[in-house]
Structures are given as C-alpha cells and as structure tokens.
C-alpha cells in the first residue's frame, strides 16, 4: 500500500500508424511512480495485449519533441511512440 508521500505521475501515451493498429489503441493513460522515464511508459504499453509487437527501442517524443528513452516524465506529459517515419 503506497504511503501518503508516494507520488504518481499521470501521462498520456499516444500511438500512431502501425503501432496503433497493433494494439487497437491510439491513447493509453498510464500512472507511473514519480521518478519515471519514457522507458517506464513504454514498458507499460508493451505489456498490453499486442504490445510485444512494438519494438523495445522505438522512436519516442515527449510534449511534441523527440526524446530519448531515459527522459524523465512529469505530471500531464504527452508521450508518443512513433513508428519508423515515412514523410517526404
């Protein structure tokens, strides 16, 4: 049982293109321990049904900017898991 001092950050994880199709989801809301990173949010998504079809190190973004897997997350952050880009 968490102590009253245990803090949680709530983030939204967005999935796109093939990743969204693999999970049948476009948005996943995740509650993580206060000291969490993009990798923790990714682990949660990869634990969902179909999540194993997302690669272990996908391209990621936080709040509309490319971000590494060790980027720390804050309350309300928008994380995005980006399949291989194909613009241009």
């Amino acid at each position: 049982m968490p102590s009253p001092s245990t803090r949680i950050v709530n983030v939204r994880v967005l999935l796109f293109a093939g990743y969204a199709e693999r999970l049948g989801l476009e948005t996943v809301r995740v509650a993580l321990p206060a000291i969490a990173t993009v990798a923790d949010a990714l682990d949660h998504v990869r634990s969902l049904p179909g999540g194993e079809r997302i690669p272990p190190k996908p391209l990621c973004a936080v709040n509309l900017t490319h971000a590494a897997l060790d980027t720390p997350l804050s309350e309300g952050d928008e994380v995005a898991l980006l399949p291989p880009l194909a613009g241009g």
């Binding site: 796109f16 490319h66 880009l85």
Partner: protein
C-alpha cells in the same frame, strides 16, 4: 504557419513566398508519389501525421535552415489520400545566391524525412496494404520508402 495540408500542394505559391528583390536564387523540391515500391505496383498512398508535433518539427527545421543560411524557406507536406504523381512534399528556398538556396533546400528535405512524424500506408495493385517506414528514420523497425524524395 501551417505546414500540413490536406489540399493539393502548389509549388508556385511556395516559390512566391520566398521571392524578394534581394534574392537572386530560388531552389525548390517536390516529392511525388511513385507507382512502385520494392517491385510491387503502388496504386495510392495515405499519409497520416502526429499533427501537432509534425507542425512543430517543420517549424523547427525551417527555423534551423534560416539560422544556418541567409535564406527564406517555405515548406508544406500533404496529408490524406494521394494518387500516383501527386506532390507529397514541396519546398522552396530563396536566397541572394544559389549556393545557400540549394543547401537549405537539401537540408530541409533530409530533415523532414528524418524527423517529422508522418507515416504512409501504401495500397498495392494486388490488393494488399502496408505501412511503410523510411530507411533514414532516427530509429526504426522496418526500413523502406516510396515517395519521390
């Protein structure tokens, strides 16, 4: 400025945006939908985007080009269903001289392909459909690609 467009791209409009009396050079790039990919006949494409980030990333790329060279850059990327021959991306770069205009235009298309969160679904003549990933993605799980750029 809006960089994503669901309407057909018009290169002349982009060129006009970067013309000025002190700019003696305008270079441009058009990426067109090709009719083949890896030996298969493509009939059409669907481009989708993480729109807010795609807009932000395009703005950053244009800004980086305009800081690096004395140029003005215009950029648009099409979203939605595209037919063979349609322009998927259009770029114009205007500068006093051609070297900066060519360099900036090249920089912008390479960075768009590398950084902007846009995806394409290819529809093949045999009825199959696939998401396609660009070979130069920052990280990727299936390299390939089929627009003219």
């Amino acid at each position: 400025m809006t960089f994503l467009s669901s309407a057909p791209l018009d290169l002349a409009t982009l060129v006009a945006r970067v013309e000025a009396p002190d700019r003696g050079a305008v270079t441009s790039f058009l990426g067109l939908v090709r009719d083949h990919h890896a030996g298969r006949r493509v009939t059409r494409l669907e481009y989708s985007a993480y729109a807010p980030m795609a807009e932000a990333e395009c703005a950053r790329i244009v800004s980086e080009a305009e800081v690096r060279w004395p140029v003005r850059v215009a950029l648009e990327h099409r979203i939605g269903t595209l037919e063979i021959g349609d322009a998927a991306v259009a770029i114009a770069a205007g500068a006093a001289h051609r070297d900066e205009a060519f360099a900036a235009c090249r920089f912008v298309i390479e960075e768009v392909k590398r950084r902007v969160p846009i995806w394409k679904k290819e529809f093949y003549a045999d009825g199959t459909i696939e998401w396609v990933g660009a070979g130069r993605a920052l990280v990727g799980d299936s390299p390939a690609g089929s627009s003219g750029s």
